[in-house]
């Protein structure tokens, strides 16, 4: 009989003993008692850190984190180690999934009831800022020596002893930002669509070392030693797929690169949610995502009640495992029914640690040990910026406070931490304001009155000074002294036509500005403008030199990544788009890669490379290695080309495609 024989065959199939033992351990660890202890030990650690004076703040945002402050403020060590303690009423410290899910279910249903008429769209409400996510992804290279790291700064290149190549433009030295192009001085790595390409670059000669088709499309990349950490685009298997759909996950691939540039997959890491941003500190990836639970799709159904099982099935996960109950924070008042998930992942060991808080983020700012995730919250009196702060260092990550500030941010450069204070420049209704916050995230200083009825276009902090550009018709560049955090003072205001969208210090006493020219009367923008400001005397900032590229020029890429300002080499390079007359008398769009040098005579063109317009071109980027410039063109279909040139006059040397 078939049935008997099948049974006989299947009787051979037995759950492996080692697997059962492992699961048994996991199950026992998942029981309440053990979790309680882990939780309290974590709390104790947090308290010790607080005693030691390292930033652990008691959140003071409206209704957010009252429970945390109750816990941190009220706990003594006897209480902390008490083995059985009822769950705190507040926002975190959940011992079991039961308690956690009860809290989440409660908040989600309240939120749904309050918001379903106008914010039914996936429960993310007003969190998604149009354009902000796209505009602000990262980068810059200066401030070195000002942001001092406690630990050895990690740099991508172990390969070259004398670093003579351009790095990704990082906002904070030692904190690597992700990009689609990386180099270690020997190889050039590119990622586009699902294609990873490794080019070998040797004294201007370029050859393809390796090309790998990845499982999913990818969008960002980090380089540490011989490891590439690649971050996927949002992966989703639901039929109605959009970036902000439910059940989206972000996947990270760690590839090891051998001496010949061959890449091999070493590890993978998966995290719930769509990708917000990432950083790399001490070789560990900090990954931030927004997780949209599937039950939010029912938010437009008035009578739908989110159940405990809904919540349990949709908790934030990493590598397929739910985050521990005590790592998930549920504020009393949530700004959205989604989860902000942050992990520290070590591609070398495969280890990771994660935390989540109900809410969302649109972008991040991070230094060596602190991660700030911010988003906009709409209120009746205008836009506010909600900041969630995390401690992220040595493979650990946990939430350390939240604050809500009036005003809206421009991008990651609107934030800066210096001497334990967080400085934030925001556009608040018809004014612009700079806040200084202490370690508890309390506002200790603030100054407004900059550019009334204008909005912030760019910000650059430089130690005790801040430079803020606002714009409506002209570009006031404000220099602000923050050496006394409680009393910021505006030192000077320089009015020039146009405005800078990105600023970077250039050597000791100069500030480079990249932006747009504008008509003084109308405020209409008129093509790309490069400026060099003399900041020797912050009381009297001068525009030392300018360069206008023509009124039909515009910038098509993320300025923060594509503009490369290399003080050591005295060069500025960037791609842009121009319109030219064709023989048929019509305008035609071309892509230009331009290389300038800056001397006391101002900006001087060293060379240009024109790429005929192709709608398939995604990025044109320039990097330098030694005495050569490599211009990398990435196409949306995954193709990539690398052209090499001499650095002094942009004479073509070699070319290669993947």
């Amino acid at each position: 009989m078939f049935g008997d024989k099948y049974k006989k065959d299947m009787n051979n199939v037995k759950a492996p003993e080692d697997a059962v033992a492992r699961i048994s351990d996991k199950m026992k660890a998942g029981k309440p008692k053990r979790t309680v202890l882990t939780r309290y030990i974590a709390l104790a650690a947090a308290c010790i850190i607080a005693v030691a004076g390292i930033a652990v703040a008691i959140p003071n945002a409206e209704n957010i984190g009252n429970g945390i402050s109750a816990l941190l403020g009220g706990a003594n060590f006897l209480e902390i180690f008490a083995p059985e303690e009822p769950a705190p009423e507040g926002t975190e410290g959940f011992k079991t999934y039961n308690q956690l899910c009860a809290a989440i279910t409660d908040r989600v249903n309240t939120y749904k009831e309050d918001n379903y008429y106008y914010e039914w769209n996936l429960g993310i409400g007003g969190i998604i800022d149009e354009g902000v996510v796209e505009e602000d992804v990262p980068t810059s290279d200066e401030l070195k020596g000002e942001d001092i790291l406690e630990s050895e700064p990690e740099t991508a290149p172990d390969r070259e002893e004398n670093k003579d190549f351009s790095d990704t433009n990082n906002q904070v030295a030692g904190v690597q930002e992700a990009d689609v192009i990386k180099t270690d001085g020997k190889f050039i790595y590119t990622i586009m669509k699902n294609v990873l390409s490794v080019f070998s670059a040797d004294e201007g000669e370029v050859s393809l070392a390796c090309k790998i088709i990845l499982e999913h499309e990818c969008r960002d990349m980090m380089l540490i030693g011989n490891r590439l950490v690649i971050i996927s685009k949002n992966i989703n298997d639901t039929p109605h797929y959009t970036d902000t759909d439910w059940n989206t996950v972000t996947k990270v691939y760690t590839y090891e690169i051998d001496e010949k540039g061959k890449a091999s997959l070493a590890d993978e890491f998966v995290q719930s949610g769509y990708y917000i941003s990432s950083r790399m500190v001490d070789g560990k990836l900090i990954l931030v995502t927004n997780h949209i639970p599937e039950y939010t799709r029912h938010f437009y159904e008035k009578d739908y009640e989110v159940t405990r099982d809904d919540v349990l099935d949709n908790l934030p996960r990493t590598n397929g495992n739910d985050l521990p109950a005590d790592c998930i924070i549920v504020p009393d008042d949530i700004i959205s029914a989604t989860f902000l998930v942050a992990s520290v992942y070590d591609g070398k060991s495969g280890e990771s640690k994660s935390t989540a808080i109900m809410g969302a983020g649109t972008d991040i700012y991070a230094d060596a040990d602190t991660l700030y995730v911010y988003c906009t919250k709409y209120k009746e009196d205008g836009r506010h910026t909600l900041i969630n702060r995390f401690y992220a260092k040595n493979g650990d990550i946990y939430h350390t406070g939240s604050v809500l500030l009036a005003g809206r941010y421009n991008n990651q450069y609107s934030f800066d931490e210096y001497n334990g204070n967080l400085r934030v420049a925001l556009t608040r209704n018809n004014d612009n304001v700079l806040y200084v916050l202490d370690e508890k995230l309390d506002i200790i200083g603030e100054i407004g009155g900059m550019g009334i009825n204008e909005s912030i276009k760019s910000v650059r902090f430089s130690g005790d000074l801040a430079y803020v550009v606002t714009f409506r018709q002209t570009d006031p560049l404000y220099a602000i002294d923050i050496s006394d955090p409680a009393n910021p003072v505006i030192l000077s205001e320089l009015k020039i036509p146009g405005f800078s969208t990105y600023m970077q210090s250039y050597g000791e006493n100069k500030m480079f500005g990249f932006g747009n020219d504008a008509d003084i009367e109308t405020g209409w923008t008129q093509g790309i403008k490069l400026s060099m400001f003399d900041t020797t005397d912050p009381n009297d900032v001068k525009e030392e030199a300018t360069l206008l590229l023509g009124e039909n020029t515009y910038f098509a890429e993320n300025v923060l990544k594509a503009v490369s300002v290399q003080y050591d080499k005295g060069i500025v390079m960037f791609p842009y788009i121009d319109y030219v007359n064709t023989e048929y008398g019509r305008f035609s769009e071309i892509r230009v890669f331009a290389l300038y040098t800056y001397t006391e005579n101002g900006f001087t063109l060293l060379g240009k490379d024109v790429v005929p317009y192709d709608h398939n071109v995604a990025n044109v980027r320039g990097i330098y290695i030694g005495d050569y410039i490599y211009v990398i063109t990435l196409f949306y279909d995954g193709n990539a080309t690398v052209n090499s040139y001499t650095i002094n006059d942009l004479t073509p040397v070699d070319a290669c495609k993947n």
Partner: protein
């Protein structure tokens, strides 16, 4: 029944009772020892998390079977699967010579394999399979019928 597990002994007990059952369903679906382990872990972790209350022993078993079927379904196609370490398609349990019946079942589509497994190994009725897989009884009947047809073609000398 008592509210399930809270002691280590209870955990050992529940694993002893259901680890093989769950693992076999997962294996029948995936044909892969590595994936079956992952699914087994997921099922038992859900048990811990949800701490379900059972009315009877049958209810308890039905819960494990249903969750095992669900997890097998969802975990397989998911991006959560880690592809770096998983060695694919190993079947350490069978001997190509002796396990003719298994290899015949293994050639069926994965959904059919699960239904066949529940019917012939777990001796479940069509109604029970329907409730465990979330399908209608007629759909289960059709699947079962097609599976048998296909098996008859392969195992020509076998009685069903």
């Amino acid at each position: 029944m008592e509210r399930a597990l809270r002691t280590n002994a209870a955990i050992e007990n529940i694993l002893e009772k259901y680890a093989d059952t769950v693992y076999r369903i997962a294996f029948a679906r995936t044909k892969n020892a590595h994936d079956a382990e992952d699914i087994m872990q997921e099922v038992f972790m859900r048990f811990i998390k949800r701490a379900p209350v059972f009315e009877s022993e049958e209810h308890e078993k039905a819960w494990f079977i249903r969750v095992a079927v669900n997890c097998s379904k969802s975990l397989l196609a998911s991006p959560w699967r880690n592809r770096v370490t998983g060695d694919q398609g190993d079947t350490p349990f069978f001997d190509k010579e002796k396990s003719e019946v298994w290899y015949a079942v293994a050639s069926l589509p994965e959904k059919t394999r699960v239904v066949i497994h529940l019917y012939y190994y777990e001796d479940m009725s069509v109604a029970e399979i329907a409730s465990a897989t979330g399908k209608s009884q007629s759909a289960v009947k059709t699947t079962l019928h097609r599976g048998r047809q296909r098996l008859k073609e392969i195992l020509t000398n076998e009685e069903f």
